[in-house]
């Protein structure tokens, strides 16, 4: 009985963690383009530029 009191919250917490991760992924738009994500993993350099270092990267490319 005592171990249940420990284990059930632990199990629920871990499950909840998974749920929270899913909801976060959904909210941050990671399910918007599933086909694109599958292709982007193959790129050498991220073509998408969300970092402020566009200039330096362009420079490196040259």
């Amino acid at each position: 009985m005592t171990n249940l009191i420990l284990l059930i919250p632990a199990a629920l917490f871990l499950g909840g963690l998974g749920l929270a991760a899913f909801l976060w992924a959904l909210k941050s738009g990671q399910y918007e383009d599933l086909d694109g994500a599958a292709e982007r993993i193959l790129f050498d350099q991220p073509a998408d530029d969300q970092s402020p270092h566009k200039e330096s990267r362009d420079h490196a490319r040259k």
Partner: protein, 757 residues
């Protein structure tokens, strides 16, 4: 990379007239994100693979002022964020890479809140269902009383927020149905779920052995899976339709009093303004030509297949395509009073027949819900009479409600329609909603528009073999300088015959007559017979003359859409009446009617007459499918029991249609009908399965033998059988599509994983 080449070929095939939006239109379509920063969303149907993503993003990022370019492969869209006064040359850059880009309906990009709500609800219901089920399994396998009570309490605590959050969707819909004095599928679901929870809570408080927390939550989970899949499927179809090129321009180039030019949005165009319309653009508003002579393609507006020549003083209608020369028109009616607006008014008046249609699921639940609730009530009365123990009677009555709770019934319709919609999607047919398939299965009459639907509205050369190669080469070289549909047809066929171009010194186009070219001191004329031969010949058709002497005659014919004969024959074999309703000339309509063996063909029909004909059919008790593409078909599309439009249809026609088919072949019509009929049959089978399940389960429940374990097993089993039955609809792609059906092999797997998970 090979797939990219295929994409480019189909893209250019689709839009022979496409020039892409102008810079001004692009500016108008962009929306502001922050000060000086704008975002432009474009639909690029040619995007096919990772190579395309990289090529497009790298090229766009190299442009000045572009902050961010992001390709969405699933929706085939590009979103570009830029700053500065004018948009960077996005369209030109994409064109250089070989991608055709166009603007799409602005309303489409709004974030889909319903989908996120459904997915979030599904995730939470799934999480709760799995945890409660885990606890329930240990209760079923014989936990002692204290542990059982603890587990019941934990389950109750998990179930309450899950029901409150995920159940919202059902509670809301059931409440709005009840408030309007109706009942729908959600009413028995909501009653069953809430009563199951209330009873279980009561049992838990009183240390009872049976609690149905697992049943109530997993029921919601299953139903949410069905709903989410349904929504995803419809959204995909809608996104694909929205991604098609806009036909109506967003604005127009206004010539100001002082001679300056200014690009204004359509809403600000007023009568009296002078508007410049370049060749290849659509007329923005009804007006009167002030300067210039040109030819207009009216196919999309009136259904006439031959281009019309207009000169100063002629009236032009909004939506027609300017083919050959730039003209200046004086606007006579503001955009909201134009021909287009009149069509929208007619459409609104026509709608109603479709709104009255009640979904199969709602009709079934209208019968089912009272029956179930009555059974539960009678069970309660019976047990009260026999045992007199109200606690036991209530428990058994609620067990009846839980076991009959329409889990299988709630899935019976959506799951079949999801599978059916995906089959259609894979074959290039977009379905806007499930009720469209139900309505399509009921039809007994098919009404076709002619231009653009049965035919492509494009001329084709029919006597290529008779023409001397040299003359052909001259004609093709001249045609290279013109956008006229006949020139385009000549060019297309010349490319197939590998003719080498002939050097010409000058080419001039006379609207309404033809082309005149000079090669040294020889004058060639290609065009209307009596113009080309300076009045000598009066034969119909297109002539090529050399210094006024006829050297070749080209015979053209409006091309039938691919597989039109097969499609019409198949529809007739299926026992449907086939009719044609066209705004075109009588002889053109008659010739197509004869070729396709369509007995009833109405010609020169006005838009309102088309709608009237559909209303007549409805009044006579017929259920008609309308297939049409033009602006003039829009009221008829809205009036019909169910409507279908090709991808090249006018914007409002596409919006009014329930189905939009993207491929050229007309077999899409019998194919959609076939899939709808099959899914109708499967839905009925699923209902039969659900009823059979109830016939077995209800006596057990009424007799009082149902435990939570029995309920969980029975419910999951019936759901799985219903889903399995729906999957039988997946089959081979439609014949025509054999060689193109490569792309979507991954999608079925994903959907299955969702259902099984």
């Amino acid at each position: 990379m090979t797939c990219c080449a295929v994409g480019i070929a189909t893209a250019s095939e689709l839009g022979p007239n496409a020039t892409g939006p102008s810079m001004e239109e692009l500016q108008l379509a962009s929306h502001r994100i922050a000060d000086g920063t704008y975002q432009t969303d474009l639909s690029v149907p040619g995007i096919h693979c990772g190579g395309c993503i990289q090529a497009i993003e790298t090229a766009l990022m190299r442009l000045d002022n572009v902050e961010r370019a992001r390709v969405n492969l699933s929706t085939k869209r590009v979103s570009v964020r830029w700053h500065g006064r004018t948009p960077p040359p996005i369209i030109a850059t994409l064109e250089r890479l070989g991608y055709e880009a166009h603007l799409f309906e602005a309303a489409a990009k709004a974030h889909d809140d319903t989908l996120s709500e459904l997915i979030r609800g599904m995730a939470i219901a799934g999480f709760a269902a799995m945890n409660i089920m885990l606890l329930s399994v240990s209760v079923w396998s014989g936990a002692d009383a204290a542990t059982r009570d603890l587990f019941h309490w934990v389950s109750a605590l998990i179930a309450l927020p899950a029901l409150a959050f995920s159940g919202r969707i059902f509670f809301r819909s059931a409440w709005s149905a009840l408030r309007h004095g109706r009942t729908n599928m959600d009413v028995p679901i909501v009653i069953g779920v809430s009563l199951a929870y209330a009873l279980s809570l009561y049992e838990t408080i009183n240390h009872g052995a049976h609690a149905y927390f697992d049943a109530s939550v997993s029921l919601l989970f299953f139903l949410l899976i069905g709903r989410t899949l349904d929504h995803v499927m419809r959204e995909r179809a809608r996104t694909a339709v929205m991604g098609l090129a806009r036909m109506a321009p967003l604005g127009a180039m206004v010539v100001r009093e002082d001679g300056g030019h200014e690009y204004l949005p359509l809403a600000e165009i007023e009568p009296g303004m002078k508007v410049l319309v370049a060749a290849g653009e659509r007329i923005p508003a009804d007006g009167c030509v002030r300067r210039g002579t040109t030819e207009l393609d009216c196919a999309l507006v009136t259904g006439e297949s031959d281009p019309q020549t207009v000169a100063a003083g002629n009236m032009v209608r909004a939506g027609t395509l300017n083919l050959t020369q730039p003209i200046t028109i004086e606007v006579t009616a503001a955009a909201n009073q134009s021909f287009l607006a009149e069509m929208i008014r007619l459409m609104e008046a026509a709608e109603g027949g479709r709104a009255r249609y009640r979904r199969i699921a709602d009709r079934a639940s209208a019968l089912y819900a009272p029956l179930v609730h009555l059974t539960a009530f009678l069970t309660f009365l019976g047990w009260m009479a026999v045992s007199g123990d109200w606690h036991q009677s209530v428990t058994i009555a609620i067990a009846v409600l839980i076991i009959t709770c329409p889990c299988a019934l709630g899935l019976a319709v959506p799951i079949v329609q999801v599978v059916a919609a995906r089959r259609l999607f894979e074959n290039g047919i977009m379905v806007k909603d499930g009720s469209a398939m139900e309505r399509l299965a009921e039809i007994d009459t098919v009404v076709f528009d002619k231009t653009g639907t049965l035919t492509l509205g494009r001329p084709r050369l029919i006597n290529a073999e008779e023409i001397n190669r040299k003359a052909f080469a001259i004609a093709a070289s001249m045609a290279d300088h013109s956008r006229h549909p006949i020139s385009q047809a000549l060019r297309e066929i010349a490319a197939k015959h590998h003719l080498s171009p002939i050097p010409l010194t000058s080419v001039e186009e006379s609207p309404g007559c033809g082309l005149e070219a000079k090669a040294g001191d020889v004058v060639y004329r290609l065009g209307r017979a009596n113009w080309a031969t300076a009045g000598i010949s009066s034969s119909v058709g297109t002539l090529l003359s050399r210094n006024g002497e006829e050297i070749a005659t080209f015979k053209f014919e409006d091309v039938l859409r691919r597989d039109a004969e097969v499609a019409v024959a198949e529809l007739k074999d299926a026992g449907l009446a086939v009719e044609m309703l066209s705004g075109d000339r009588r002889d053109a309509v008659q010739s197509v009617g004869d070729k396709l063996a369509i007995a009833r063909a109405d010609a020169e029909a006005l838009p309102s007459e088309k709608a009237t004909r559909l209303a007549e059919l409805t009044a006579a008790g017929h259920k008609a499918l309308m297939v049409g593409d033009g602006l003039n078909d829009a009221p008829a599309l809205a009036m019909a029991h169910v409507a279908m439009a090709p991808a090249a249809a006018a914007d409002i026609g596409r919006n009014a249609a329930d189905f939009v088919f993207l491929r050229e072949s007309l077999t899409a019509v019998p194919f959609a009908l076939d899939v709808s009929k099959k899914s109708g049959a499967l839905i009925r089978q699923n209902f039969a399965i659900a009823i059979a399940y109830n016939a077995v389960a209800v006596p057990i429940a009424v007799a009082g033998y149902v435990t939570p374990l029995v309920a969980a097993v029975a419910m999951s089993l019936s759901s799985l059988i219903v889903i399995g039955n729906a999957m039988r609809l997946r089959g081979r792609p439609m014949r025509e599509a054999k060689h193109t059906g490569k792309a979507k092999s991954r999608a079925p797997l994903r959907a299955n994983a969702l259902v099984e998970g």
